[in-house]
Amino acid sequence: MKYLLLMYANESAGPQTEEERQAAGPTWHALLQETKKAGVLIDSNGVLPTADATTVRIRDGQSLITDGPFAETHEQLGGYFVLDCQDLDEAIQWAEKIPTAQYGSIEIRPLWSAGA
């Protein structure tokens, strides 16, 4: 079953400086390698912070384009994994390994499929 794992964290939590990011690097790299080796990785990437986000809505035929995320939230989207897992327990086990889980939240959404 395919799952989208969304990584949320407050942008002031987690690594802030370039050094902190470098220090966290190996853990992320190792996790990516592990998912590849296990044959579960479909895709993964980080996303740039909410300062670089743009939101688009169409209302009454009008296109409304705004700076920033769709809503002000306490935790913001930081990245994602798309994994092909045996079941939810496996997806949970991978989510627990994601560094963001230590200071943020990982939301697991099953991908829509014809049977759902």
Binding site: L88, P110, G115
Partner: protein, 412 residues
């Protein structure tokens, strides 16, 4: 027993085991439940005419399997599931022997999966394993039937859509999942033992015995299917020991009767003996845990012929052990009470005072304070505490008791 009640008893007893086996076979919660429902309706018609069959479980299982296959055939999904139907078609119908495999452990763990909301875990466990109907579960938790029906439907949907696996968790997940399962069983028991959601306008009684009975029954199944687990045994012992006193917790006016005032001659000795025996089994496994400690405390109460014979020092020591494992507020409060009884009320009051800041909304805290203040004749302070407790109280029987004590404080 009339046939109708025989049939109902059979349904209740066999429901969990048959459903668990059906889910195993068809890999689909909803299909299994619908098929079993069809089979039950069918059974009700036929058994009232033909009588209850020699092997009711096998009859129901066969009927449910047929219904499930019918349902699968009717739906287009058949094209996507050729293997299920093929396997079933080649299976000899006569090998439906007496022993339906007992897959209830899988069902128990699935119902109590952490991805389901706690109230959904409880409802699903009672409905699928306990065999309680939707209206019965709704009544047990005082919610409208449509609300409960929706809760159950959503839970089944989540199991399917999110890919919650139907299995006993592997060894690395088992300890935490088992704790969750035990917690659900104990929650069901407590809901029955001390109702916390009564409507003040109704004259609901303190306990809902059916829930206590179901919780004990579920724990027995767990112990049977997963033997040599100390905490499961501990929980079973704890519930039996509590349950032995259930009849004496209310007086004729529906008012709460505390431990020291209960008529011990009416405590169920069979349950006490069994509870103590099971606790001994648990302790012999040398795998201590909170349920075992709580059971040991309950056993000490059960073994005291009169309230004055209670070994409060031992109980206080056990609460000390419990506080080391699970330092929750309720444990600290109970520990303070035990120390007050073992030595003197002032000691208990001092311990409770330490909790004052965090405990303002905590009902048991105010009840304990009130009681100890009453025993030390601090009437005004006791009255305040009783008032606060009444504000926080969740059921009629306890409220009535507290009100009586409050009146005693105000009108000496």
């Amino acid at each position: 027993m009339t046939t109708a009640s025989q049939i109902e008893t059979t349904f209740r007893e066999e429901h969990g085991r048959i459903l668990a086996a059906l889910i195993s076979q068809f890999g689909d919660f909803t299909l299994a439940e619908d098929a079993l429902q069809d089979a039950l309706i069918n059974a009700l018609e036929r058994w009232q005419i033909d009588g209850v069959p020699r092997n009711p479980a096998a009859w129901l299982m066969t009927a449910a399997k047929r219904r499930a296959i019918d349902r699968l055939r009717r739906v287009e999904k058949v094209d996507h599931n050729p293997t299920i139907l093929d396997n079933l078609a080649t299976q000899d119908e006569t090998d439906m022997d007496d022993s339906i495999p007992d897959e209830r452990l899988k069902l128990m763990f699935t119902c109590c999966h952490p991805a389901l909301a706690l109230e959904a875990q409880v409802a699903l466990t009672l409905h699928t394993l306990g065999g309680l109907s939707t209206p019965e579960v709704a009544r047990a938790f005082l919610v409208p039937v449509p609300t409960m029906a929706q809760r159950l439907a959503r839970a089944r949907k989540k199991i399917r859509n999110a890919g919650i696996p139907y299995r006993v968790p592997p060894a690395d997940l088992l300890p935490e999942r088992l704790n969750a399962l035990l917690a659900v069983i104990y929650l069901i028991f407590n809901e029955g033992y001390v109702a916390t959601t009564t409507d003040p306008a109704s004259d609901d009684t303190l306990t809902r015995p059916e829930l206590c009975y179901e919780a004990i029954r579920l724990c027995r199944v767990l112990v049977k299917l997963m033997p040599h687990n100390a905490e499961s045994l501990g929980l079973l012992a704890l519930m039996l020991l509590h349950d032995s006193r259930r009849e004496t917790r209310l007086n004729a006016n529906g008012e709460l009767v505390l431990l020291d005032e209960q008529d011990r001659s009416r405590w169920d000795q069979t349950k006490i003996q069994e509870g103590i025996a099971i606790l001994d089994q648990a302790l012999a496994l040398y795998s201590p845990g909170p349920y075992q400690v709580q059971a040991a405390i309950s056993a000490l109460h059960a073994e005291a012929p009169t309230s004055d014979d209670t070994d409060w020092k031992q109980i206080a020591a056990l609460y000390g052990s419990l506080a080391a494992i699970t330092p929750t507020m309720v444990v600290e409060v109970n520990r303070a009470v035990a120390m007050a009884m073992a030595w003197e009320p002032q000691i208990g009051l001092q311990m409770l005072l330490r909790l004052e800041n965090e405990a303002d909304n905590f009902y048991p805290y105010h009840v304990a304070c009130a009681d100890l203040l009453r025993r030390t004749n601090q009437r005004e302070a006791a009255a305040d505490a009783y008032e606060r407790a009444i504000e926080l109280c969740g059921n009629n029987a306890e409220r009535a008791y507290l009100q009586r004590r409050l009146n005693e404080m105000l009108n000496p």
